[in-house]
Amino acid sequence: MRITTDYVIQFLDTVAARIKEQRAYLTELDSPIGDADHGTNLDRGFSAVVAKLPTVADKDIGTILKTTGMTLVSTVGGSSGPLYGTAFLRAGTVLSDRYDLADEDLVAALEAALAGIMMRGKAQPGEKTMIDTLAPAIDALKSARAGGADLVTAVREATVAAELGMQATIPMLATKGRASYLGERSIGHQDPGATSAYLMITVLGEVVEQIAAKASS
């Protein structure tokens, strides 16, 4: 599969639209265990990204993703700013000077993004964070690829793993972020960051499906 700059822009625009749609839901999830701003913060950040994208639309994918990361860092306002910001900056660094991507580039960029989040947040799987969505999703993607699946199938499996990972945050005790201040009371709530990460993985899946549909038509 060949993923061009246009599709990267489409991915970012669609993530922004999805977050805007789900803004109230993300904020509602953040109310019992955080400061009730995850949806508002991410919407502010991705709206700023959408406003910035036309200025880099003719640049390489690395520049587009790095611009996305820097914009999130300076506009989100909560921990998801430095976390998603670092993720996009790391992915952008892996894809410097590239105008189209092959399947393995997508996997490498996702791995770099996850490593960036884990580094920035000093967090591991099982701590009720976005990592609990992203780590199993990337593992599923890689193992499907290793088993010979095409990218569409592999991303479908990743999306299922992401959803399960997101739901698995419900019984977890938070040890990172504001939710950790609540201790035991953080148990029983789905993590907002894991939820926004799931939205991004579903959008990635949709874009990959579209590219595949277009290639076969």
Binding site: V73, G77, G81, T86
Partner: protein, 130 residues
């Protein structure tokens, strides 16, 4: 001389702590506030923190102590100070108490280690005696 940076989700809190600490520092300690987002809303911004730190870094300070409130203030500060040219410590101390004890130590010429330790000791500071 050690400089101090006050990071908070709220611009008012950061500026208020700066004001309070400056009063104790007798104009001898450089303190900057990096509170809220660039548009004044609540939140922390690595960009706002980076700008304030860069400004402090361009003065003749020997080191920087950062005091912060909570949550994303930590991540935003860590990101903002990546590559900062002078020695710095991000303090785990309570913001107000830490800033006041640190500025007192900084005003008498304490080095970064001493200033950071003065802030850190406020974790067990008792306000109510007896």
């Amino acid at each position: 001389m050690i400089g101090m940076l006050i990071v908070s989700h709220s611009r008012k809190i950061a500026e208020g702590v700066q004001e309070l600490a400056e009063q104790m520092g007798q104009q001898q300690v450089l303190i900057r506030a990096a509170g809220g987002m660039s548009d004044g809303t609540l939140g922390t911004s690595a960009e706002v923190i980076h700008a304030a730190a860069t400004q402090l870094g361009s003065t003749p300070i020997d080191g920087l102590l950062v005091l912060l409130d909570l949550g994303s203030a930590v991540l935003s500060t860590e990101m903002a100070l990546e590559g900062f040219a002078k020695p710095f410590v991000i303090s785990d101390a309570p913001l107000v108490e830490g800033a006041i004890m640190a500025v007192i130590e900084a005003a008498i010429g304490g080095d970064l280690e001493r200033v950071a330790a003065a802030a850190e000791r406020t974790k067990t500071l008792r306000k109510l005696l007896g």
